[in-house]
Symmetry: C2
Subunit: 168 residues, 2 copies
């Protein structure tokens, strides 16, 4: 990709590769830790963490799916696993009978609490320890800008909402 890269300077290319590599190594390490420590995938941890971080510890499936998963059936699958382990419960919403309320159980909260310190330690060791003065602020600013732009720009041919949507 050295010469054959129209449109990206070597520095841009390097930054792109560094971003992907750093993020991948980080996620791989974190995922390994979560599996070893709590038998949780990163995704499962994120589901629990998001619930734990919500007042009441409950969310609708749809709200929970947002940003975590690309298909609704994927969330159903993962929720099924967490449910089977007693980490969450599911019950129909009183407001809207179509909805399902997902609630973290005490066991779920306990597992998050048990796993979190190591998780955080991994992130600190891999991501923040090597940083120099000012790096954190710089990184936050740049990534914040990029993220904001990404969120404002649904992935070009994004799946707006519902079901079928083909390039046809």
């Amino acid at each position: 990709m050295s010469d054959a890269t129209p449109g990206l300077t070597p520095e841009e290319l390097g930054a792109y590769f560094a971003l992907v590599e750093v993020s991948n190594v980080l996620q791989y390490a974190v995922d390994a830790h979560l599996r070893a420590e709590g038998d949780l995938s990163y995704l499962q941890f994120q589901i629990l963490a998001r619930l734990t971080d919500t007042t009441g510890g409950r969310l609708r499936m749809t709200d929970l799916a947002d940003g975590l998963v690309h298909s609704r059936s994927g969330l159903t699958y993962q929720a099924g696993l967490l449910d089977a382990r007693g980490l969450i419960t599911r019950s129909p919403s009183p407001d809207d009978e179509r909805s399902v309320l997902v609630t973290v159980t005490d066991a779920g909260r306990a597992l998050v609490a048990r796993v979190l310190p190591g998780h955080v330690a991994d992130v600190r060791r891999l991501l923040f320890d090597p940083m120099a003065e000012g790096d954190l602020a710089a990184l936050s600013e740049v990534l914040g800008r990029v993220r904001q732009h990404m969120r404002a720009t649904p992935p070009r041919s994004a799946k707006p909402r519902a079901k079928g949507r083909r390039k046809s």
Copy 2:
């Protein structure tokens, strides 16, 4: 995770989440484009790109695997797919009969060439367009430091080289 995050400041947590989110959205978009445009996964594209970027267009399986894949069988699997599509060829190395030399075919090069502009355009649009003056340099510097540290620090309980290694 708001209150229950010992050891990470809110800003650190935000930077961590932003990093993961930005990288994931980027990779998801790029992967989708590669599949639509060339029926290639990101991993397959990286294999081809790495070969294309090598003098002679050939590498040993082992060298090729480095950094791309976590198990040797994974690379064999992917190489099998690319081979079946005529994008690479595999042949025993003349130097070391145990080794396999992987070579990009013309078709492989052509496919990379066809897919690259769109790939690069995606990266530019998602990652670099929203950046402000100086952002690129800042990002490169921070990530470069982090990456260097990661490479120097094999993931704690890394798989040093060979086969079996269990927590037992």
